[in-house]
């Protein structure tokens, strides 16, 4: 036929090759969890309790340590990530008598993690990285029970729980200054203070800024040991090139962090227990 002349075949083959390679994906495309034994999976987990008292748990499964170079894994073949508070998923799923009461506990307190693209909530805006799956769930602690222990477990094919990991959340705290909704001039350093210092914890500060000239910025700073106070200048967090007359909305997202190891069944990883408090204020010229 006319279109199979030698000259026409080469570009068609090239096109098919490109499409084939694109379909197969490069090294960074997500891969199914079923392609990896547990001991080859790197797990990164975080349980964050905020002002509401609820605990949001996120889990990333990867085939390596490097968050940029590693493949992110998505759950396949009926594999599931569970979360719970204070009682492990394994305990929730192992009961014998009193079916109505025990089943109700399982139904209401054991959460199946849902999938989404890598997501960061900066309160003033969100940041989503497409094509990198992470898993998340929301658990409500039992009122009055403190401290809270957050559990994650990984159920592999055949209903085998193989990745029990837990972390005790740090003590809650409150941001004392600046006041929510305060207005601060750029020239004035902002002193952030908080209550209930925990010498065993480290502090992390995320800052999100959005200005009325359209510029925005994020800053992630490790504050080190918990001292109850830190001071920032506006130059630390305002977007580069921001207009001299711009007014900016600022969110200080302060996190108290405890770190722990994930189940030894995984290749490696980390779990963080986090208390997160947020304050928003305005920076004026």
């Amino acid at each position: 036929m006319e279109f199979v002349r030698k000259g026409a075949i080469a570009p068609i083959l090239t096109l098919f090759s490109v499409l084939f390679l694109a379909g197969c994906g490069g090294a960074n495309h997500p891969a199914p969890s079923t392609s990896y034994v547990t001991s080859a999976i790197y797990a990164f987990m975080k349980a964050v309790q905020d002002e509401s008292g609820n605990v949001t748990t996120t889990v990333q499964l990867r085939d390596g340590l490097d968050p940029v170079a590693a493949r992110y894994l998505y759950l396949a073949g009926g594999e599931t990530l569970y979360t719970s508070l204070d009682i492990s998923p394994r305990q929730y799923l192992s009961f014998t008598g009193n079916l109505f009461d025990n089943s109700l506990g399982v139904s209401q307190h054991l959460k199946v993690m849902g999938a989404r693209d890598l997501y960061t909530d900066y309160f003033l805006f969100n940041q989503i990285v497409l094509g990198k799956p992470e898993y998340h769930s929301l658990n409500t602690p039992t009122a009055g029970l403190s401290p809270v222990r957050a559990y994650v477990d990984f159920e592999r094919t055949g209903n085998v729980l193989s990745g029990e990991t837990s972390i005790e959340l740090p003590a809650p705290f409150q941001i004392l200054a600046p006041a929510s909704g305060a207005s601060v001039t750029r020239a004035t350093p902002v002193t952030l203070t908080w209550s209930n210092v925990d010498a065993m914890a480290t502090m992390r500060l995320d800052v999100a800024v959005i200005c009325d000239d359209g510029l925005r910025n994020t800053l992630n700073r490790n504050l080190g040991a918990d001292t109850g106070t830190t001071t920032l200048n506006s130059a630390d967090y305002l977007p580069a090139g921001v207009s001299a007359s711009a007014t900016c909305q600022v969110a200080f997202i302060l996190q108290r962090v405890h770190s722990g190891a994930v189940s030894p069944n995984f290749a490696s990883g980390i779990i963080e227990g986090v208390q997160r408090r947020t304050v928003q204020f305005t920076t004026t010229p």
């Binding site: 599931t80 009961f95 079916l99 109505f100 089943s103 399982v106 139904s107 054991l110 209903n159």
Partner: protein, 174 residues
């Protein structure tokens, strides 16, 4: 005892026997209904089906057996968990023929049950046991053979649940 008196008593016994036999009846009563859990929130109602077989040595009293099934109490919030209960048992019924077409009854029975909880794509657990039950209802004979019935009944501590149910059914008595 004198021979004539013995003859008279024996004659009376023979005369009364057909009468007594005529009042013995058997009843089969299939019924369907809706069952709820009264001692905890968090479950939707389950349908229930039941078949009773009762022997009435006299119209006012019956002894019977039954089989029953609750196909699924589903959790109403959170992840779906379903509990299925199957049971069987024996009971004693007392009924009062206050009217040709309406006969209230009370039944005491004992149910052996097997319960199975499913959720998260698996059988979570199984349990079995026994629970006493109480039913109050009414039978509504339409013909000598066929009637309807309605009842409320309950069983306590069926794997932790107090089950309350309302059911309606047919009744075949012969």
């Amino acid at each position: 005892m004198d021979r004539p008196i013995l003859r008279a008593l024996f004659s009376l016994l023979l005369l009364s026997a057909p009468h007594a036999y005529a009042e013995r009846t058997y009843a089969v009563a299939p019924s369907v209904g809706s069952a709820s859990i009264s001692n905890m929130d968090g479950y939707d109602n389950s349908a229930c089906v039941r078949v009773d077989g009762t022997f009435h040595p006299m119209p006012e009293v019956g002894v019977g057996v039954f089989v029953t099934s609750y196909p699924g109490f589903k959790s109403s919030a959170g992840n779906e968990v379903t509990i299925k209960v199957n049971g069987y048992g024996v009971g004693v019924t007392g009924r009062w023929p206050v009217h040709p077409y309406a006969q209230p009854f009370v039944r005491l029975d004992y149910m052996r049950w097997d319960a199975e909880a499913k959720g998260f794509g698996r059988t979570l657990a199984k349990d079995s046991g026994g629970s006493p039950g109480l039913a109050l209802g009414a039978q509504f004979p339409i013909t000598g053979f066929f009637g309807l019935k309605a009842e409320v009944s309950g069983y306590n501590n069926v794997s932790g649940a107090d089950i309350r149910q309302f059911s309606v059914g047919a009744m075949f008595e012969f």
